[in-house]
Symmetry: C2
Subunit: 119 residues, 2 copies
């Protein structure tokens, strides 16, 4: 598995193993349909390509600043921003989107190793 939040191009490669004649256009078309369907979720997350999430249940995401992998954060509640901050300003605040970032376990340990080797 490439990862659990694949891009359209990654899905294209995966699907192609089963349907060798499928076109990238069809992949995009169907991802769009599934998104409107709310069968999947389209993530507008940092980076140039959109990513898709098969888990519909609302949850936040974290992106590794080293390798770019996206992970789910089921432990961080959806309404993590205290209510008091949602009534500020003259906007009618409807919600927010958080993108956490940091080092994934793999890159974290890789970095630790490098630090040791550089000493």
């Amino acid at each position: 598995m490439i990862n659990s939040h694949p891009t359209a191009a990654e899905l294209y490669q995966i699907v192609r193993k089963r349907l060798p004649k499928i076109s990238l256009g069809t992949v995009y078309r169907n991802l769009e349909l599934l998104t409107q369907n709310r069968t999947i979720r389209k993530l507008e997350i940092g980076g140039s390509e959109a990513r898709f999430d098969g888990v519909i249940k609302p949850h936040h995401h974290i992106r590794c600043i080293a390798c770019g992998v996206i992970s789910d954060l089921f432990d961080v509640p959806q309404d993590v921003v205290p209510q008091q901050y949602l009534s500020l300003g003259d906007y009618d605040v409807r919600g927010y989107r958080i993108e956490f970032y940091g080092l994934c376990p793999l890159c974290k340990s890789k970095q630790a190793t490098e630090e040791i080797n550089n000493t």
Copy 2:
């Protein structure tokens, strides 16, 4: 003023009034330089085009879901996510980016008017 968080294309139109021969490529090149400089900030916010912010001081943004305008949220503290949620999971969390969304004052009142008219 178009708005305070212009896209590269919007800036191109503005700058062109003063420097009619400037090219869009130069605008992109200089925005990139200023971003690396930390003279401006490049916002990776929803929508297909990047937006640029002349205010370097860290602050959050809110986007109007009706008209797309971006506004600053100086009243919402930078560390609005309670500390306890930053140590969850196996990531080394370095930070997060929040994008609030809702109705801007203009669209809010416009919508209120429509509701009255539809009654």
